[in-house]
Symmetry: C2
Subunit: 367 residues, 2 copies
């Protein structure tokens, strides 16, 4: 039996019990709204997690990179939405995912992008990306461009998609509900405009963990694509998508230095193992570069957090006692933002409430 006391640090620890509870909660919520759950695998990037997340669902998944699309197709997933626009030069590689046996759906918010998809030999499906307020990608539902892009896609058009990333700047539930309703209205309006122009709009796709956690109605929507709900993190806890008890993924680290005079200690997880994500900065739950929990996942007494990171060192500061901290002790770091922290690691060491490592699950990184 291998436990968290024996494996190399730093590494990712994933608690399967918490993961399964998070999956059930979202699955139940989406089923209650009558929409398909098409989980976004950009956080987990793992076939094992994807199998659990799609259990009892229609089986469609969402990904953010071609490397993910290829990996999941190789692992038997056959309905893959690549939810970030591809430059035309990447379409040949995306066609290779179809050759692996998957239906591949692309997104675009540009006439030139739509034309490149339409004129490609491969049997892509495509959604027009709608900006529902995030101001990242997408066209506004009211834009003159919308029907143009739809028409440019020709018979490959299947519908519309949006991502209300601006839900991340909410600080209360009311805000989240409003953003969720704005997300729904934008994409439903876009769908109506396409249909009004005589175009196909079977798919009406929304999604972000905060909005799908708080959304009150999803009339007119066909599918939802939350991602980080699987693992949750300190930022999601801060904005009310979850509680700290719902955080399924942590970074296991070893103590490599103890400074009793200044009541601080060093761990072997720094900017690379934790990431430099500071999502909780400026929130009441500011966790520095991560909260310090003991090997069982219980926060250390005195509000310890990683105050400074260097490439391979994390410096922990807190108000609690340090007497019991010893060189070589192991701690677990609750992450600000699971998606970013996970990306430096190639696998999960899976536990199920205890210290025993019950499985190792791989991840697909890179592009």
């Amino acid at each position: 039996m291998t436990t968290l006391n024996e494996i190399q640090t730093p590494c990712l620890v994933l608690d399967r019990g918490i993961l399964e509870r998070n999956l059930r909660r979202m699955s139940h919520a989406m089923s209650g709204h009558g929409v398909a759950l098409r989980p976004h695998l950009k956080t987990a990037k793992s076939a094992e997690v994807a199998r659990l997340a799609t259990r009892g669902e229609a089986g469609g998944i969402t990904v953010s990179t071609l490397a993910e699309a290829e990996y999941f197709a190789d692992h038997g997933f056959t309905d893959i939405l690549i939810a970030a626009s591809l430059p035309p030069a990447k379409l040949d590689r995306a066609a290779g995912v179809i050759a692996k046996g998957a239906v591949v759906t692309l997104v675009t918010d540009h006439v030139a992008g739509a034309e490149a998809i339409a004129s490609h030999d491969a049997s892509f499906q495509a959604l027009v990306e709608i900006d529902s307020g995030d101001r990242r990608a997408g066209v506004r539902a009211s834009s003159d461009m919308l029907p143009e892009i739809g028409r440019a896609l020709g018979p490959k058009l299947r519908g519309v998609l949006t991502h209300a990333g601006h839900s991340y700047s909410c600080s209360d539930t009311e805000c989240m509900k409003e953003v969720a309703e704005g997300e729904r209205m934008a994409v439903v309006k876009a769908a109506e405009r396409l249909r009004g122009a005589g175009l196909d709009c079977t798919v009406v796709s929304v999604g972000s963990t905060p909005t799908m956690t708080h959304v009150e109605r999803l009339d007119g929507v066909t599918e939802a694509r939350p991602g980080v709900y699987m693992f949750q993190d300190l930022f999601q806890a801060t904005i009310g998508s979850c509680t700290r008890d719902d955080i399924a993924m942590t970074v296991l680290a070893s103590v490599i230095g103890v400074n009793r005079d200044e009541n601080r200690f060093l761990i072997d997880a720094g900017a690379l193992a934790l990431s430099k994500d500071r999502s909780t900065d400026g929130t009441p739950g500011d966790a520095g570069y991560g909260e310090v929990w003991d090997i069982h996942g219980t926060p250390l007494d005195g509000g310890w957090k990683i105050e400074r990171v260097f490439q391979e060192h994390g410096a922990a500061a807190g108000d609690g006692p340090i007497d019991h901290i010893r060189l070589g002790d192991r701690v677990r770091i609750g992450p600000n933002h699971a998606c970013i922290t996970a990306a430096a690691h190639d696998r999960y060491y899976v536990v199920d409430g205890g210290l025993e490592v019950v499985a190792e699950w791989g991840r697909v990184n890179g592009w």
Copy 2:
């Protein structure tokens, strides 16, 4: 002939001519000071770069992880300093690097750590880590602990080491010179104290790119361990370690969205491909998440930078014209902090002033 127009994005581009110039400059400077250059490979993590960086030098290298130590030993490097403390549980794995044929030097700042190294069967060498003002790791040169740790290492003791990481908070050359002299004085004093206690102190090791760029004298020092000088970055340019023309590594990305109404565009390099490092934040050279250069490495007109990042999207904003930006165009992003940005990538596409890819060099990531 493959060029930067054909390879998959996002990826790292490394300009060999600039790299070689940076290497020559540091090599010449250290040789002028009469100290050995033991380059820190935590930035490059590449055997090919390490071979160039050690050409004409004694051959010793510095690394930050066991994964790097193993990789470089496998690639023929035989004198490896692991410059971050290891927890005792990692000593067996470090001994495996000796078994590959390398001399392995460890660092410690703790009596218990020193005892673990001393009592291990493997023929480690060891340095006591000194805190010269960075307040990260190490004991003060004046600390009562210093001779205790030295004695605890027994015959494995070889000397002392420090890293003046606080040079990164300097904003002018005078500050840098002062930090460099403080770094030197701390470690020379520590060496004298060990020798005064009848202990061996052959190695007196300092190093950071800013201090080694500006240091005026290194009397009493035997070796220097700068790292990021090889690639340089926007932060190093901001604090005066280099100019923008010295930046050898960039991230190649494709334009995936153009919003002419709001004069901004999106690229396929976001938080993962660029990192969330914001080292230039609060400096006069604030570059957001990176500066946008054209495919040849020339800054776009109008001060374009990556203003927001999402997992796989970077949003570029600037004052210059956007008319010539097209979907699928390629740009290069100058990084805030090369060490952190490089870590998400598994290889370098090497160019030599032009667009032709003249080599692919691997990297060792993880732990």
